[in-house]
């Protein structure tokens, strides 16, 4: 399985780090080196599968290659140290680059990472050299193949295998001298460590190579593949059309598929050795990967090593294929999804020639730049608070707390018999203010919020007061029972019992009655359906909240229900009750509304408006949905509900789901749920519920 980079730095991370050598280069051998940069001032880097390589210059003007890992090098330290030791014992020169492993080489992201440092080698990659030679001097490719064969043979003779022989790891000097780099997968005979995770370049390896396929002879297959490729190109330069920059003549797909078109071309090569080598490769590809672990001379069996290059035809110069055909080509015309190229009947209404930005994209959008990002809607409120139920629940919490506080302040001046009534009316009123005030606010205007709050307060407080006698009635029976029980227990008369714990359920039912009435009143302002939902939701919320109130703050009778507003548990319970009622009532109102407008984009993004029968949209503060921004008229459009269906009337020009609609007060455009209406720079979605 391929080894993927996980938590190791990326090539761009390293690129930042090498630009800060004073703090990033911690190893002594790296100190005072500097990265060489491109004309743009960015460090030059070459990237491979597992590492990025930078070019460094030291104060003595010597150049070094710094190899930084983008994924964990498998047993890197062991491998490189063993290699250094092994090479140090050799008496003959080696074609491997002299690499030094440094445990703590470079610091970034708060820790140090290992690097491998090598002297800079003046060679060029095999693929680049091959692409040049195949055009300029194909005969020299034979000499290059000879040099490679000698290098790999020498390597095997010294008990070393490279493990990933491929164009990118083979550097070629002007004199065709060979140096092998990227030693992450090296095997040496003098040490033992596990095989690398990396199984070599797929375009150069047996398709079934596994981790077990490793050891002194692992390079033989790749060496044969490269040799056949180079000599095939020398004999038939037209094969240059196979060069893709990441391979030589053959690709992984060709190694898997022996009927690929490249094989007959190799089998027809003017070079007899190429024909034989191709057959050898095909035979090996049909066998196991382990069968490729042959000594080099056996792999090549070069008894009849040819120089049949004289047979080579003088071919027309071949240039490497360069993509670019796309550069001058226009876009696919309409019906691009249709492979059959049939009728244009289902072509969309978008223009065939896509519009382009002017030279500077940011110009022409005027006020809507990033700088205005924070200025959105009233007081720059975060849009998530705009949705009614959540806002109303938060409002409910505030209402509950404020109710307790206010009640605490006025309590001493109220006759004790009236205290419970005042308390409930106060809290209910504040919940009403929160719900209706919030709705007013989200439709875009502070004055509407104030009106809504006042209306809500009056409405809820009044209905709560009306409901209070009912609640009292409900409480009376249980309280009397409790007093009688207490009198019997204490042996006193019932009248002497002035304090008693009120049964929990009774308190909950009393709360439920009050909350249901508040829900009814607030819902009725929306629709009959919302009123019905309001009753149910309010009763439920009131009951749950009442249970909480009664169980946490022991409710005590003192002629009537006694409230201790500054008792922390009363405060908490009241806040919870209020939040639940606020949430329930607002949800009821929302689900009771037949239709909702949601602002998707624009200054008021996130706002929601529950629709009544007639709703105006515009910049005027009397509009049901107030929109700001250029191009919005005072009364720009109206959305009306007629016979349960939405209709759009445009006073100014608008877009309805992408369609331009000129201003015409006499035309009504039917709306579907999900339609998007654009007014000025704002986009508003119309959502309609199925008519009940």
């Amino acid at each position: 399985m391929t080894q993927y980079a996980t938590n190791w730095p990326t090539s761009t991370d390293y690129t930042s780090a090498v630009q800060m050598p004073d703090t990033a280069f911690v190893a002594p051998s790296l100190a005072s080196t500097r990265p060489v940069t491109s004309a743009l001032g960015v460090p030059t880097a070459a990237t491979g599968q597992n590492a990025v390589v930078f070019l460094l210059e030291d104060p003595h003007r010597r150049y070094h290659a710094l190899r930084c890992f983008t994924s964990a090098p498998s047993d890197g330290r062991t491998r490189y140290l063993a290699l250094s030791a092994h090479v140090g014992e050799l008496t003959q020169p080696t074609t491997l680059a002299g690499a030094t492993w440094i445990d703590e080489g470079i610091v970034l992201q708060g820790r140090s990472w290992p690097v491998v440092m090598m002297p800079w080698i003046a060679g060029r990659r095999l693929d680049i050299v091959v692409e040049e030679l195949v055009v300029d001097d194909p005969r020299r490719l034979g000499a290059l193949a000879d040099a490679l064969y000698r290098s790999v043979g020498q390597l095997q003779a010294t008990g070393i295998a490279h493990g990933d022989l491929q164009h990118g790891n083979i550097l070629v000097g002007d004199d065709l001298s060979i140096t092998l780099v990227d030693l992450d997968g090296v095997w040496v005979s003098s040490a033992s460590y596990p095989p690398p995770d990396e199984l070599g370049h797929p375009n150069y390896q047996h398709p079934h190579r596994s981790e077990q396929c490793w050891g002194p002879l692992v390079d033989s297959f790749s060496a044969l593949l490269i040799d056949v490729s180079l000599r095939a190109l020398a004999a038939d330069p037209s094969l240059a059309d196979q060069l893709g920059g990441e391979n030589l003549v053959l690709r992984q797909t060709d190694l898997v598929d022996l009927s690929a078109p490249v094989w007959p071309r190799l089998q027809a090569s003017p070079d007899e050795w190429v024909r034989a080598g191709a057959e050898r490769l095909r035979g090996l590809l049909g066998a196991t990967a382990e069968a490729t672990l042959l000594p080099l001379d056996q792999m090549f069996r070069r008894s009849e090593q040819s120089s049949v290059i004289d047979q080579m035809r003088s071919a027309a110069p071949v240039t490497g294929p360069v993509p670019g055909a796309l550069d001058n080509r226009g876009l696919q015309e309409a019906n691009w999804w249709d492979y059959a190229e049939t009728s244009a009947a289902n072509s969309p209404t978008v223009s065939a020639t896509p519009p382009r930005y002017p030279g500077s994209a940011a110009v022409g959008h005027g006020a809507s730049s990033l700088a205005t990002g924070g200025d959105r809607g009233p007081a720059g409120s975060p849009s998530k608070l705009r949705s009614g139920p959540i806002g109303s629940a938060l409002g409910g919490v505030l209402a509950g707390l404020a109710g307790c506080l206010l009640f605490g302040l006025v309590e001493p001046s109220i006759h004790h018999a009236a205290r419970a009534g005042v308390f409930i009316a106060l809290v209910a009123g504040l919940i009403g203010a929160a719900v209706l005030g919030w709705d007013g606010w989200t439709s875009g205007r502070a004055s509407r919020a104030a009106t809504g709050a006042l209306t809500g307060f009056a409405l809820a407080a009044i209905v709560a007061l009306i409901a209070l006698p009912v609640a009292d009635l409900i409480l009376q029976g249980p309280i009397e029972n409790a007093r009688v029980a207490a009198a019997i227990e204490r042996g006193t008369s019932v009248d002497a019992v002035t304090e008693v714990d009120v049964p929990v359920v009774a308190v909950a039912v009393a709360w439920a009655v009050v909350a249901a009435v508040v829900g009814l009143a607030l819902g009725a302002r929306q629709s009959a359906r919302a009123a019905l939902f309001g009753v149910v939701a309010g009763a439920f919320a009131g009951f749950v909240g009442g249970l909480l109130h009664a169980t946490t703050a022991a409710s005590i009778f003192e002629e009537r229900l006694r409230v201790e507003p500054f008792n922390p548990s009363t405060l908490a319970a009241t806040a919870v009750v209020s939040a639940l009622i606020g949430l329930a009532v607002a949800t009821a109102r929302r689900s009771g509304a037949l239709a909702v407008l949601t602002v998707m984009e624009g200054r008021m993004a996130g706002s929601e408006v529950l629709l009544k029968d007639r709703n105006t949209i515009g910049s005027d503060t009397s509009a049901r949905l107030v929109l700001q921004g250029p191009g919005v008229l005072g009364e720009h459009a109206a959305i009306n509900i007629v016979d349960g269906r939405g209709q759009l009337i445009a006073f100014g020009s608008v877009h309805l789901s992408g369609r331009a609609i000129p201003g015409d007060p006499s035309a009504a455009h039917p709306l579907q749920s999900g339609d998007v209406v654009r007014v000025g720079g704002s986009y508003i979605r119309f959502t309609q519920r199925a008519a009940s």
Partner: protein, 280 residues
């Protein structure tokens, strides 16, 4: 499927669709940045990495192994869709920018500073190709139409190559109709190596963060559901990449995310563009 290696004859194509609607100017969860700035920063990092990935030898320009299109979509003051390449200068003349050309024509080289304890602030430079921008609506259908034309032309040109990857980064619902049909059309395009991969990320939002779900998020909002339905399943190797980054995901996981915070944007782009192993 999804295993064709990248080289000159089989270049890779990545199309980024970048929502430039006004709300992209709002902040993102998890970082003191706007959504638009986050996307621009991440794209700049990805482009630089792609350019480096294609640089095979020091002193040699990056090879034309990838072409990238970055299509911004928003609207002008009058609500007319503005859909076009975000790349500027010499790169503005073509929808596609090859890695070779990207390296030559960054918008600018930006100097940045990093504070280091007990040392003067350290300076470094990074190339920048994309600037953040936000304004107007979300004409997603027009954007997908454009992407489809580009990608179809690409598939016809390189029928054997790894199929193009199209990544849509948005923070809101389409304002020019339902993009569902456009997404189906886009995903139906193909090369010999598989269908076009179309990945969708919804940035920001109040609901539950989601990434790489393999089951339909049926409890989520209709918009989240739509994004999931529009998105291709991740190829096996991208699932491996996601797992290596700590995501516990199963086959069938889609290139999809919703209500993404900063970290999710980074992870989504890392996984959705993880074609590095197709190129060495």
């Amino acid at each position: 499927m999804y295993e064709q290696r990248i080289d000159r004859q089989h270049p890779g194509a990545i199309v980024f669709l970048v929502d430039q609607s006004e709300s992209m100017g709002d902040g993102i969860t998890g970082m003191p940045l706007t959504k638009a700035t986050t996307v621009a920063d991440q794209l700049n990092g990805l482009l630089f990495e792609l350019v480096q990935r294609c640089t095979k030898a020091i002193g040699e320009p990056p090879r034309p192994y990838f072409a990238v299109a970055i299509i911004g979509y928003g609207t002008d003051q009058n609500g007319n869709p503005l859909v076009g390449s975000v790349l500027q200068g010499a790169l503005a003349d073509d929808w596609w920018a090859w890695t070779t050309d990207l390296a030559q024509h960054p918008l600018r080289i930006e100097e940045r500073e990093r504070a280091v304890e007990g040392a003067p602030p350290q300076k470094y430079v990074m190339p920048v190709w994309v600037d953040p921008f936000a304004g107007g609506g979300t004409p997603m259908c027009t954007a997908l139409d454009n992407a489809g034309r580009l990608v179809r032309a690409w598939c016809d040109e390189y029928p054997a190559a790894f199929p193009p990857i199209v990544i849509n980064l948005s923070d809101g619902e389409s304002t020019d109709g339902s993009p569902s049909q456009w997404a189906d059309r886009l995903r139906s395009l193909h090369t010999d190596d598989g269908n076009v991969l179309f990945f969708n990320l919804g940035i920001g939002g109040d609901d539950k963060m989601r990434l790489f779900d393999e089951r339909a998020p049926s409890t989520a909002s209709p918009h989240t559901m739509l994004l999931w339905e529009m998105s291709s399943e991740l190829p096996e190797f991208m699932i491996e990449v996601a797992r290596s980054q700590g995501f516990q995901i199963s086959p069938g996981a889609r290139g999809f995310g919703a209500n993404a915070d900063f970290r999710n944007v980074v992870s989504f782009l890392n996984v959705g563009t993880s074609v590095g192993h197709l190129l060495r």
